[in-house]
Structures are given as C-alpha cells and as structure tokens.
C-alpha cells in the first residue's frame, strides 16, 4: 500500500489557513481530536479461519509473542472480538489493511475517551 487510506485528519494537517503572518489557524477542530484520540483495531470471530492461522497472522502483523497472539486469538474465538492494537490512526489503518490481506475480519474503531 503506497499511501495509507482514510487518514484524512492527518492528510489535512498541511491544509491550514493563515489569517496573519506567523499565525496558523487550524480550521478543523476534528483534526486535533483525531490526532489525540487512539484508534482501536478490532478482530472479529469467523467460523472458518483456523485458530493457528489467526495466531500466526497476529504474530506476523503485530510482532506479538506466541502467547500474546494466542490470547488474542482465544478472545476472538470465545468473546467474538478482540482489541488487538490501539494507537494512532494511520498505523491502525495499516494494521487493519494487513489483517484484511490475510482475510481476517477486522475493523477500526475510535477509542472511547
């Protein structure tokens, strides 16, 4: 993926309006919120994907230890979903894309502040 999709809040940062020399006015308050609010990467249960396959994908995508990857896999299996990573939106989008490329059901959610 050449560029990360959807992270408009980050892409929009350079598009600022200057009202007077030396003053930068951020005209999108949402931008500030988006940068401060973590985003959660959620993996959802799927009846087909093998448990070992899901564990392997977590290890490869996030660099998790086998134990940690298995804990998330079991949480997905038993509870239907697992919050597998939380942080900046751009990186969260990259992770979701990688999970999709391994055919895991994954979504992005804004963390509750």
């Amino acid at each position: 993926m050449g560029s990360i999709p959807i992270a408009r809040s980050i892409w929009y940062l350079p598009h600022v309006a200057t009202t007077q020399p030396g003053t930068i006015h951020l005209d999108e308050t949402e931008t500030k919120v988006d940068l401060a609010t973590p985003w959660n990467v959620i993996v959802h249960n799927d009846p087909i994907n093998l448990m070992t396959y899901v564990t392997m994908v977590f290890q490869r995508v996030f660099g998790y230890s086998r134990d940690r990857a298995e804990r998330h896999m079991l949480e997905v299996h038993h509870k239907g979903r697992s919050l597998v990573w939380s942080g900046g939106r751009e990186k969260a989008e990259l992770y979701v894309h990688q999970l999709h490329s391994h055919q895991l059901l994954a979504t992005l959610e804004k963390a509750e502040s």
Binding site: M1, S3, P5, I6, N45, D46, P47, I48, N49, L50, T52, Y53, M56, Q59, E93, V96, H97, H100, S101, H102, Q103, L105, A106, T107, L108, E109
Partner: protein, 161 residues
C-alpha cells in the same frame, strides 16, 4: 490422511507428500473455487470495510485497498496453480518463498466455500456429513480437508519462521 507430510527438502524447497486422492481432488478444484471469490455476495468478505458503519469512509477505503488486495489474491492464486502443475501422484514440490501464497490461497478457498454455503460455527462442528446428499456437506468436507493441509503448512511456517 495420516500420511500427509510437509518437509523442507532444502532451504529453498518445500515438499508435500502423502496427498490422499480425496485431498488431491479438492486441490484440483482450487481454480474453480477461487474464481468464485469475485462473485457478488462473496466479494465483500475479501474486500472488507474498515469502518462498516460509515458508508462514505467505507467507500473510500475500498477504493484504495481493493486494487492491492485483488492483486495480492490473484498473485497468490497464480503462484499456487503454477506450483500445482508439478503435482505428481501424491507429491508436490514448490519453492519455499511460495509458502505465503499457499497459505493465503488455501485460506481463501476455505472462506469462499464458507461464504457460498453460509457455513456457521455449528456447521463446522458437525461430524455427520453426507457429501453425496447435500452440497453444503460436500463443501464442509472440502473446508476440513483443505484445513488439514493448511494446518500443516501453518505449522511448517511457524516452525521455520
């Protein structure tokens, strides 16, 4: 399929041996199964939205991610189908660098079958399959058989890093 084995012939080559005729039959159906990936009703499983509750964001996401995913899926499919031309009797060898393609192609095939037949968690637990009587049972058998091979390949990938 107790004889099914994955072996590293050397650093650059993987060999699958002991492929039972029933698994071989499933493997040869991979092109037909994977072709269904792009069918309406199945396609959405492979080209997901990151934020399904937001239609606009989902459309943007799909616009950007779909071409790359399509290329990745098609490339894995082509790689595996090319490797399968070397399948002789119960054995096939392929370059170790193709292992990720095998993992994703087999996983895709299982998911396509699952979507086609609306397979549920309960279906996956069934042991009373009658492939001759119901298409869904045949699909479940294929999912399980391909799963055995996928499981061994995952184990091999994990063992070899």
């Amino acid at each position: 399929m107790t004889g099914l084995r994955i072996t590293a012939v050397d650093e650059k080559t993987i060999e699958i041996t002991g492929i039972a005729p029933v698994l071989s039959h499933c493997i040869f159906q991979l092109p037909e199964i994977l072709r269904r990936r792009e069918s309406p009703g199945i396609r959405d499983r492979f080209y997901q939205a990151a934020q399904p509750e937001d239609a606009k964001v989902s459309a943007e996401w799909r616009e950007i991610s779909t071409p790359e995913l399509h290329h990745l899926y098609a490339s894995a499919e082509e790689t595996v189908l090319r490797d399968l031309t070397g399948l002789a009797e119960d054995t096939v060898r392929f370059p170790a660098v193709h292992l990720p393609a095998w993992l994703t192609a087999l996983n895709q095939a299982r998911l396509v079958l699952g979507e086609l037949h609306r397979v549920t968690e309960a279906d996956m637990e069934r042991i009373d399959l009658d492939p001759g009587a119901a298409a869904k049972d045949g699909a479940l058998l294929q999912i399980h058989l391909l799963g055995v091979l996928l499981q061994l390949l995952v184990d091999h990938a994990q063992a070899t890093g």
